[in-house]
Symmetry: C2
Subunit: 236 residues, 2 copies
DNA sequence: GCAAAAGTGTTAGCGATACACCCATGA
DNA sequence: TCATGGGTGTATCGCTAACACTTTTGC
């Protein structure tokens, strides 16, 4: 079983950047360390890859352990391997980002890991190189969402256009024009208008929409140009 | 030095997808295996990560070993970790893609690894999951090149517009309109016209251009929309 | 003089942006 | 009735894409 003689072996970790959206703001799920080292600091949810699983398997296992959720939208981002990124011992970590519907997250499970949602704009210091990972994940999400309708993964089954707009505004940190936004959005044919209204966040109420699943995959590529001048986000 | 007890350790490899461009066609540099297993098959250039180097370091070392080139444009793509991707022993490989000026490649070094350039459209069978890596790299390059002027990394100092167009046509596997292409390109202000002409590939000869290095970095993001309907390449 | 590739200009149509008003409702 | 947020329509401008002919030169 050990045919490649004389080669070095590495600890392989997974770290998950878990994005959520509460209807108004974009948040990240972090866990609190109550052990040394870096006690009382916050960190991304992570864990080691086991010998009998792939990195993808491990990422899903770790995400499920924290959130109780399976089949979540998750994508491998990048391996981080600086020599002393983990001061305890040399570890190479593969970072994944995940998009979850914040409402499906089982709050009670959080106590095991002391998890908490933080606004992306107002995050505590993170251990190791986790802040770099978060920064890269935000950028990746901007790229990906400019070309593909992945942000629906952050929303519940039913959502309103103003919610969707708040989501895009949060991801791109910029105000979008209501009229142009809804027109472009509806023109994709991806949305189905429901007869109900959401009446919590306004007096008039906003109609709920749901995703047309049959068109979602086939139109995955046609969902572009939501963001004026998207290139300003692609500066690196 | 071994503080994380009871965790599994992994062989960590690097595989490099090395793109080149000969003025007409896009090529990949492959190495020939003259040992078992998979003797007589072709493979990506690869190697193991050493304990005292980062994956990026290892990728650069491995690339230099094959090509003799340093400070090449290289980007981490993705970690591949299927359980039996390497039948010899469990190995997780981090794939990088590199863009090199084919003319700088030292041909004589190739003998050590039995390296050879192959047209991307006419590749032999590759070992392990290397064909998947190549497929993903081609896609990544399409994405990246649609947003950033990275394809200049494949060209020599001096190049002609028809060469550049052939390069884009190769990357996107589609014919582009000469007039629109050169107009868009020149309008970026990234190119400096030289007084000389390249006269090998045509009777009339085409003017050489060179990259305006001072504008290259600052305009890195403004070099968009070269490809009509780029979304058709972003279907997954 | 002819074949082969380089180089250049114009136009039409679509899509992106900017912009202002009415609607529905709860308090 | 008023304040709040939801919802819709239009005009302009710029960019994209489609398209054809002239130029240069080696053979």
């Amino acid at each position: 079983m050990s045919k490649y003689k004389g080669q070095d072996r590495f600890l392989l970790a997974i770290d998950c950047i878990i994005f959520g959206f509460d209807g108004s703001n974009i948040k990240l799920l972090l866990v609190h360390r109550d052990i040394e080292p870096e006690k009382d600091k916050w960190s991304l949810m992570g864990g080691f890859v086991h010998a009998d699983e792939t990195p993808d398997d491990a990422a899903n296992r770790i995400l499920e352990e924290l959130t109780g959720l399976k089949s979540v939208y998750m994508e491998q981002m990048q391996a981080f391997g600086a020599l002393n990124r983990d001061p305890v011992e040399r570890t190479v970590s593969i970072a994944y980002y995940a998009l979850i519907d914040i409402h499906k997250y089982e709050q009670q499970l959080s106590h095991k890991h002391h998890a908490e949602w933080f606004l992306v704009g107002d995050m505590p210091d993170l251990i190791f190189d986790h802040s770099d990972m978060v920064k890269m994940a935000k950028k990746r999400l901007q790229y990906k969402a400019a070309l593909h309708p992945i942000l629906f993964q952050l929303l519940p089954e039913k959502f309103t256009i103003p919610q969707l707009q708040a989501l895009y505004e949060g991801i791109y940190q910029s105000k979008l024009d209501d009229r142009n936004f809804s027109r472009k959005l509806l023109s994709t044919g991806l949305l189905i208008k429901l007869p109900e209204k959401e009446k919590l966040s306004s007096k008039k109420g906003a109609f709920y929409y749901t995703l047309d699943q049959s068109h979602y995959m086939e139109n995955f590529h046609s969902f572009l140009n939501f963001i004026p001048n998207p290139d300003r986000f692609f500066k690196d």
